[in-house]
């Protein structure tokens, strides 16, 4: 299974309102960032949490967001960055 995204690709986090053991916090949903790096493939925590096999593995990416794109009135430098690790099935090309 090849990774769908490469470093530098702009991506948008899917704004899905899903309950349960998801590893995508609300504050990045619907937000656009950029792939910083691929982190490899891991068992799917959304399956593991409920006794599933975690298969197939999911690619994980470190995604970079500009803080000012995440929060209205962010107090800090325009260069301040938030990095978060997001599984591929939560990302769309932006």
């Amino acid at each position: 299974m090849t990774a769908r995204f490469d470093p530098g690709d702009p991506v948008r986090v899917r704004p899905e309102d899903r309950r349960g053991h998801i590893r995508t916090p609300s504050y990045v949903k619907g937000k656009t960032g950029q792939i910083e790096t691929g982190l490899g493939a891991f068992k799917d925590p959304e399956s593991l949490a409920y006794g599933g096999s975690g298969l197939p593995d999911k690619h994980l990416y470190k995604v970079a967001f500009r803080q000012k794109d995440l929060w209205d009135g962010y107090a800090g430098s325009p260069d301040d960055t938030l990095y978060i690790d997001i599984y591929e099935h939560w990302l769309d090309p932006a």
Binding site: L60, L70, A75, G76, Y83
Partner: protein, 213 residues
């Protein structure tokens, strides 16, 4: 319970392990008892996991940082493969999660948080401090990191970029802080004493040599 000693007689409160002291602790005890009763876990496995965690502490992180400060090649290895670097110093950080060390520079300061729960590089540093797990830290570290760091005594100039790492998945993060000035003559063990737990999380920086005593 009442007993007589030292010439007085009054009830002494039982010394508690803490395990039975809250609603949540009681719930965990009940779950643990069920897991043992149903042969999913043994008491020995629970105890050995407790001992595994108690054997880890921020001192491990301090040793990694101090070695990286004095040995540039070790630093390169720490930044490229933290688990292997830990193994070099005799720390067993094996396990399914991956570790990444992020380096503070004069241009970029790193801060670690887990907004969803309490992900932390436990296999190296042990258990996180209670504040790390608090709702206040988890929410504020991402949307006002500079204010949070100021509360820990670190007021970063605006020309230093703040990089917050939300460890939401399978990677655990640790900060490699900058070596304080005035430490050029210090040896590895002395340097390690400057490296605080909080500086490995990024809410503060290592102690100045005079403060370390």
């Amino acid at each position: 319970m009442s007993e007589t000693h030292n010439g007085h007689d009054h009830p002494h409160e039982e010394i508690k392990t803490g395990a039975e002291s809250s609603l949540y602790a009681g719930r965990i005890r009940a779950i643990e008892a069920l897991l043992v009763e149903r042969d999913i876990l043994t008491k020995e496995e629970v105890q050995s996991q407790i001992e595994y965690m108690e054997a880890r502490s921020p001192a491990n992180g301090a040793r990694l940082v101090a070695r990286a400060w004095i040995d540039p090649e070790f630093k390169t290895r720490l930044l490229s493969d933290t688990k292997a670097a830990a193994r070099e110093l005799g720390m067993d950080a094996s396990g399914p999660v991956e570790f990444v060390t992020v380096e503070n520079t004069p241009e970029v300061h790193n801060l670690i948080v887990c907004t969803l729960c309490s992900c932390y590089p436990r296999a190296i540093l042990g258990r996180p401090p209670d504040w790390y797990k608090s709702f206040a830290y988890r929410s504020r570290a991402v949307n006002e990191p500079r204010a949070v760091m100021r509360e820990f005594g670190l007021d970063l100039p605006i020309d230093v970029t703040v990089a917050v790492h939300d460890s939401s998945a399978d990677i655990r993060y640790m900060v490699l802080p900058m070596r304080p000035s005035g430490t050029e003559d210090m040896g590895e063990e002395e340097l390690a004493r400057l490296v605080t737990r909080d500086s490995l999380i990024g809410v503060s920086v290592p102690l100045e040599p005079v403060l370390a005593g």
